[in-house]
Amino acid sequence: MIDDIRVGALIAYCSVKRGNKKTLMFIVFVLSLIFMNLVFLPSMIGGMTGLFTGFMQDYPYGDIVIEPSGDNTYINNADNVLQKVRAVEGVRAATKRLDVGASIDHKQKVVGVTVTGLLPAEEHEVSRYPYIISEGDFLGELSRDEIIIGAMIAGTGFGSEIYDNLGEVRPGSLVDVTYSNGVKRTYKVKGIMEGTFELVDLNALVHYKEIEEVYGLEGSKATSVVVRVDKQGSEDQVQDKIREAGVNEQIFTWADKSETLIKQAMQSMGAINVMSKFVSLIVGAALVLIIIYINVLNRKKEIGILKAVGITPGSIVLSYAFLSMFYVSLGIFAGLVLYFSLMFYFQANPVVFYETMEIRPQIDPVLLIQSIVTMLTLSVIAGTLPAWSVSKESILKAIWGR
């Protein structure tokens, strides 16, 4: 076996050293594209997933969200919960919110929305709401009878044509809000927010006190307490610490919430990803097999000669496996260079989705390792099968074709 390996390696080495360099470059180029095909789309989907989960963290759920336990509508004494949460090590900021259903009416156009009551000063540390005001200003601590409206319902942002909207509402416009309990209030639009995300741009924001008053809530009630952590990735530990601190409400990480809320979307993308990988693999396997098979067929006579002079079929098959692995390794290397070049390009020039969403592909080391291992495995099979089949032919047929 060792002699087979030595001889196989020598034959492969000579073939690479003195073989046609243009053919080698062409094979490597094609293999690099096959590798790119395996890793590029999953990276884009990874970027898209990252973008969506980023939205979940930056707007509705933070890193950790605390919600009422059982059938309760509100967290009672949310200030007490906040006090406990803020004392937990690893918590950067936290705030309480009140989400309620309502309809907004402007010049006889009516749109159903979720209105979130929040504490403007605290939101600077917790969410990106204060930073996505495209027109006008964000709410202040003293904001009363003022509302921030999402760009899609205001009729000014991307997606306005898809969803019902209020028709060009601008800062300073007056809108009527009818809450789910029937209370009607008139607000002056203070700003338009544009987060390029439906969960944001189809909503409206008012001061926490507004919702408290409308619903007659007392004792610092909240529908959620949103928490941000110091260090990304520490959500699970901080979640445990919050529980240990005596918070008895339901505590979710953004991942838990993403899983339930955008699980379907992610599953769809995951399915596309799996299918794309599968198709890429089939195409890749077919191409690698064709390339190596043509290579082997061109050397059929050589294989016959090697057999005729006493070289074992094992050595011959191994030489093609080595050759194939060499081609594929170079292809992977070239593919990686191409891949990282494209990744850096798209990091600097993200793909714009729905005109406003910027998708930056994600480099996933696990995916890269998986693809490299897959390609190398494929190369061994692709190199071995045709060589094995030719090496089984009779010497006379291999050399003289009869």
Binding site: D3, R6, V7, L10, I11, C14, S15, K17, R18, G19, E302, I305, L306, K307, A308, V309, G310, I311, T312, P313, S315, S394, I395, L396, I399
Partner: protein, 227 residues
């Protein structure tokens, strides 16, 4: 050394079968230089390929040093080809991507020799056939005669019991043919190498001890020559 008894080789079956060999019998002693002659289609190349274990006989017995080689399984035939038998092809059959030395020493490596030992063996064999200093050249950089001498070096490097040559001068001019035949003669006379060569050139018989002539797959004469 070689005993061939009633060797037959048919291609196809029934009435349409082509009878390339119709029952050939002869013996070759160690150290003999034998030419197999005959017109085109007489079965001489078929016979040589069977003797060199590149093809199977349909019927008959074939022994080398008492070993019934015709019935060996493929793995053992491969080992036999590697260690006991040297074969020189009409069209050289060198690996174009290997240098002269690599074409030769790949076989020594297959036999389990170290790279260094294999290289030295290859240089020695190339020296023997008069290619000293040309071991790093690839086949494209060699003349037809030189290529054939590399092929001979490859065949003799392993010091085989028998060297088979299938019309080794067919693609060479007279001058190169003489050089190749001189190499065979020297190997035979100086090192006692047993050589069986297929040829159709009458003047080649000046170099051999014995001429076996085939006609339509049958042995028609077996003649000793005095050199």
């Amino acid at each position: 050394m070689i005993i061939v008894k009633n060797l037959k080789r048919y291609y196809g079956t029934g009435e349409t079968a082509v009878k390339a060999l119709r029952g050939v019998s002869f013996e070759i002693k160690k150290g003999e230089f034998v030419a197999i002659m005959g017109a085109s289609g007489s079965g001489k190349t078929t016979l040589l390929r069977i003797l060199a274990l590149l093809d199977d006989a349909t019927e008959g017995e074939y022994t080398i040093r008492g070993l019934q080689v015709s019935s060996l399984p493929e793995a053992e035939r491969s080992y036999y080809r590697l260690t006991q038998v040297g074969y020189v092809f009409q069209d050289y059959a060198l690996i174009n991507e290997m240098s002269a030395a690599e074409n030769v020493y790949v076989l020594s490596m297959m036999e389990g020799k170290s790279r260094k030992e294999s290289y030295e063996t290859a240089l020695e064999a190339l020296d023997k056939v008069g290619l000293k200093g040309k071991h790093n050249r690839v086949p494209d950089e060699l003349s037809g005669g030189e290529k054939q001498r590399v092929a001979i070096a490859r065949a003799i490097a392993k010091k085989p019991d028998i060297l088979f040559a299938d019309e080794p001068c067919a693609n060479l001019d007279t001058n190169n043919s003489k050089q190749v035949l001189d190499v065979f003669k020297e190997l035979n006379e100086k090192y006692g190498q047993t050589i069986v060569m297929v040829t159709h050139e009458p003047w080649h018989t000046e170099y051999v001890d014995r001429v076996i002539t085939l006609e339509d797959g049958s042995l028609v004469s077996d003649e000793k020559k005095r050199r």
